[in-house]
Subunit: 143 residues, 4 copies
DNA sequence: TTTT
DNA sequence: TTTT
């Protein structure tokens, strides 16, 4: 097949704590519920409007799953890259149903926690584990 | 509002001709069904594997909708940028259903046709309409 | 014209306060110096390595320039989208020189401040101006 | 250091054949010169304007370098992802000079050739090697 | 269900 | 230096 691209970039907040699952083969899988919000001024009424979108994120990368489990929690702000995947399943009535998820695979996904310090200040047990402090801007700036 | 990001980039082929709708207020809306394919070598078996993903794309940008209607057809290869949106609807059994789409809004979406010449050569009826090549449509033509 | 794409996404910290300029026609232009850092474990030595990259960012979008001027300062963390542009200039010895910049144009660029609260807490003079938090500037405020 | 992002996405045409180099340790490095073109309608004069940007791309990924060497040539259209890197060097007058490049590293870069069939038709020796035909849209389309 |  |  000719080359194709399927990439999603999200930056938003977790609506709840990560859900951790383990597969039969021992791999950790983490599900995130991420909210992104878009706001704009309505052309007609002139008033501010806002729409929140909720995204299902599934982390199949073991390394990223561990990070998510350890450092993320309800309210965490994250930046992530993954790809779209629609899963087919059958509901109780025997009907086909589809669920679209953003999946992060090994070597093909990114996950960055954006509020390490805040998390520490608000102090959940998970947050306290969030070591990687915000580095100083050392090094010479060439421009 | 806290800054957030919700961006999708797809490059793939249309599985069928664009579906054109017109809203009550006269705006053109175009639906695309786009396939992306990912291939990789299985770690265990060593054999080549491939998975095709289908994406629902909805173009709310009038300029891009016109371009899609005029130049795209089944098999066209496109590059596009939009954002994820999940629509809730009720099925015949009164159950909530969700459909996730990639939406292209005015001033927030891109659409590039990647096989203009091929289309002309292979000659579908729509493709032949794309004769003026880089001709103007209304100043919003992205290719 | 054939469709093309030229997009840069950066998330990093400002190495110094924004530099504000005004064009002859009264438009505000803001220059940012943004650091991104990549870290990895060396395959041979096994030790952690890190490389910081500095980026010149030029904001030609008036709305985003105002936001940058008002809310950003040395150390601010930002997420931005723009496009690559290489400028040619002549140095004092009459030699051609090139400078590559990430430019943010109106309707084609994003800028999101990622540490609003921190800024206020650490309290630079600029940061204090950001008090109204999500206050309106002119309807183009991205955060 | 806190998480950062540095990503470039380009889609454009090669201005000349790839330049292939081999490092002391036997790794293949390929340099590409890629043009992207942006066109817009001038707000004042109303006339169509166009600006071409040239990008230096350096492929350090051995796999992608081989693909580039084998399949790409002057005029090829490519889609690629990499990151920005500014190299410092000293010119003949002993002055510091900087060159900004888009680098594609192993496991952190993409390269997709977009005109396989065209290339074959126009027939350069390299082009004829460009096997991967444009796949058929088989598989059931769920929507 | 989040965040501002 | 490309492409349309």
């Amino acid at each position: 097949m000719a080359g194709s691209e399927n990439m999603v970039i999200l930056m938003g907040n977790l609506g709840k704590d990560p859900e951790v699952h383990t597969t039969g083969s021992g791999n950790m899988i983490v599900n995130l519920s991420v909210a992104t919000t878009k706001s704009w001024r309505d052309r007609d009424s002139g008033e501010r409007r806002e729409r929140t979108e909720w995204h299902r994120v599934v982390i199949y990368s073991d390394g990223l799953a561990k990070v998510a489990d350890k450092y993320l929690h309800k309210g965490s702000k994250v930046y992530l890259q993954g790809s779209l995947q629609t899963r087919k399943w059958t509901d109780n009535n025997g009907q086909d149903r589809y669920s679209t998820e953003i999946v992060l695979q090994p070597y093909d996904g990114k996950l960055i926690m954006l509020d390490g310090q805040n998390a520490q200040r608000t102090g959940g047990s998970k947050a306290e584990a969030s070591a990687p402090a915000n580095g100083d801007l050392d090094g010479e700036i060439p421009f």
